[in-house]
Symmetry: C2
Subunit: 465 residues, 2 copies
């Protein structure tokens, strides 16, 4: 009995100590995270960095002068943060030039006469030639429909893809995924059957006059035809006209490819004091489309990521693991920056224990989505999930889901890939448009995003995976 | 043994039936709620109703022509919904008139010379008289500080309250509550010690040039002195000057009270088919401040509430309980509409089983806050809490918290008081300002709010409390 009593006593003491230790740990973590948010909401620099990136540098199309100008601007910011490493990593990017303001015009409609539409060339589209083209329009709602109606219906015409994003999806990224094949693959599909041009309804849930650009991918061996997006209001108008008459459209664009250019990823890091080989990456992409200022896409992700470093520095936090901020080149058309980074990382046999990407805008944080190779995912996600109570007071939740395009190539390193998840309701109002400007970003929302990422980085660094 | 076996069998069958019934119920509820959201996101009218209320009617200050014009506008909307009851309820509201554009001017500063500040008179403030007043400014940070420095420091001066809203609070309403005593009670506190005027830093977390109005309350028996809010940027400027020199300010306002007016609550309802005496109220307030269009505060709440009725009608839902939409007069200064409603309701011995108020803007829904008398609260809240899994797919959570000002007087009827909780980050950018306009409201966010309220109404109606 004595031994049993002694054992029970020991167990009790041990349990009490462990519990009390765990409680202290949790209080310490809660306190630290609270301070991260306090700093983010009172003395973070991310909003002013974004102002500079959007207003002074501007839209940063891969290969453009602005994409080049972003390098010294961002490097200079990183240089102020007293990091252990600030470096660039070159990659070759496809260059595309928009040329003159595009023209899309309904010609001689019986109902409305001649009318200009709000249009923008799709990224990597060829131009129409200087004289433009005019042809009859045929409306379709899917790539499959083009296969079905075939050459007889399509040849010599402009194919107009008009399937809307599904407004009923609560997550607007789901609605985007469900519609964007039209923009990405619609031109080549139409060209297979002899179409001379392609129009697509802009990728947004709104009805407005704002055209949305974005990349298309031409299929090898198929003729490249000019492709433009028109605003949703104009898509509705064109569709209404087509119900009542044959509609001819004139379109003109002088866009096209130019010589490939060298662009750069920018990397800044704080070396880990105990496990320097375990990397926690935070990143976003530095390039953007050219129409606006690339504020939500992805200026927000860029300054979120740099802000994580600034916050840790301001709090004199010395990480055990290496915290690396990577600002990727050329996400929007081909992931050249991401690919260069993955190749170098795999070559160096690096281990990204976790990689967090911010590429869904600068809106109010709702949480994070987690991804990883099947064999490691469940255990690591369960570990992370235990930290959730520390982040719930800030409105965050955790779920399984996509990490992000620029970190996708790190999956084979068997760490967690994590996507920062802001509220998605407004994202596609601005995505790839002239109105994705600094003014569309709210300061508090942006700061809360950076704090949320920094809080997760702190927990990942402290406890590992 | 036979009896026992039989009993076990019965229990098993019963359990299976109950579980399967419960599962079917839950699937039916999930389906119905999904359809509510589908309707809200595709064919709801709330956004267009809000356009009319803000653009055609405009800011709806109690007692103003616009407050009167809102009555036929809203009544006409309710009339289109084929409701069982549409009626108005009169109340007497205090009327206040802003007069000329206010003037607040730093006079002869050694540092910046003479400069205009962005200012607005506080609601119910007296004016300065036609000639204005000029006096030395003294800065304070709380009502207590005025008590402490007393008459010697304050007499003959303009007291400038400059304690900011706390940026670090995640819920901006908490930050507002912590600062708004300056606006509400600062004038009388300063007048107690002989101040001749009062300025207050605008109630917002932003630094910008937009002054925010809002009600003050003069203390009985204390001299009424003119009170104005200045923008946060100007508050910062004034504070910096005061650190280096004596600053004199000229201020002029010609606002003041006018004769009380009759305004109206508007009430529309669908009678319950089984329990008509159990009322589920949805409401917001029809009045607003005069500077902007009262879009988020509280046009959004008005159209949210009407949309709940429209959605149930569109889905041919016949409620068991009475669903009543109440659009209250005069929330902003004295709750005359709410008080009239409570008095009539209590007089008629009505029972509001639940009342949902939307008065925190038209932003992305985050959930609901629940309140009620202590003796009934726990049981009823626990019951509601079980429905949460049905609403979590829409990003909603439930917590204890304030219901809302206009429904607060219904607490004694022992139902649940429920506040609709949208994301709070942007609310105080617009609150009580000239920029609280239709353009500041996002269509999807508004529609999701209405759907969230309708979904909760459906569950409350179906299961009762």
């Amino acid at each position: 009995m004595k031994i049993v009593s002694y054992l029970i006593l020991c167990t009790l003491i041990l349990t009490t100590c462990t519990t009390s230790f765990a409680q202290n740990e949790q209080e310490e973590d809660a306190q630290f995270i609270r301070e991260i948010y306090n700093h983010a909401l009172t003395d973070a620099s991310c909003y002013e960095w974004l102002r500079g990136l959007t207003k002074n540098v501007g839209g940063r199309l891969a290969g453009s002068p602005q994409a080049a100008a972003a390098i010294p601007y961002i490097t200079q910011i990183l240089d102020t943060l007293d990091l252990d490493v600030v470096r660039t990593q070159a990659c070759t990017v496809p260059t595309w030039v928009r040329g003159d303001k595009e023209m899309v015009r309904i010609v001689n409609s019986n109902q409305i006469g001649t009318q200009e539409l709000n249009a923008t060339a799709l990224g990597h589209s060829v131009g129409t030639g200087n004289l433009g083209i005019a042809a009859e329009v045929i409306e379709v709602h899917s790539l499959d429909e083009v296969d079905k109606i075939g050459r007889e219906a399509v040849e010599g015409k402009i194919v107009f893809y008009n399937r809307p994003m599904e407004n009923t999806q609560i997550n607007t990224f789901g609605a985007y995924s469900g519609a964007v094949d039209q923009r990405g693959s619609g031109a080549s599909k139409a060209a297979e059957y002899g179409a001379v041009g392609m129009l697509v309804r802009s990728m947004t849930t709104r009805l407005d006059d704002v055209p949305h650009t974005g990349a298309l991918r031409y299929k090898e061996g198929i003729e490249k035809i000019p492709a433009l997006a028109i605003s949703t209001n104009d898509a509705e108008l064109l569709s209404r006209l087509l119900q009542r008459e044959v509609v001819r459209v004139f379109m003109r664009s002088t866009c096209g490819p130019a010589a490939p250019a060298t662009n750069y990823n920018i990397i800044g890091e704080i070396k880990g004091s105990i496990y320097p080989d375990e990397i926690i990456l935070v990143g976003g992409h530095l390039d953007s489309w050219d129409l606006g200022e690339g504020a939500h896409d992805d200026g927000a992700g860029v300054v979120h990521s740099i802000e994580v470093l600034e916050l840790l520095k301001k709090m004199n936090y010395q990480p055990k693991r290496t915290i690396r901020c990577v600002l990727f080149a050329n996400e929007e058309s081909g992931l050249a920056g991401g690919k260069a980074y993955w190749a170098a990382s795999n070559e160096a046999k690096e281990y990204h224990m976790a990689a967090i990407e911010s590429d869904r805008g600068g809106f109010t944080p709702r949480g994070f989505t987690f991804d990883g190779e099947a064999e490691i995912f469940t255990e690591k996600f369960q570990k992370v999930y235990k930290w959730l109570p520390l982040l719930e007071p800030y409105g965050l939740s955790f779920s399984k889901g996509y990490g992000g395009a620029d970190i996708s190539g790190l999956k084979s390193q068997k760490g967690l890939l994590i996507g920062f998840l802001p509220d998605s309701q407004r994202y596609f109002d601005y995505h790839h448009t002239a109105i994705d400007t600094f003014e569309a970003v709210n300061k508090r929302e942006l700061e809360l995003g950076a704090a949320s990422m920094a809080a997760l980085v702190y927990l990942l660094d402290k406890y590992g995976l």
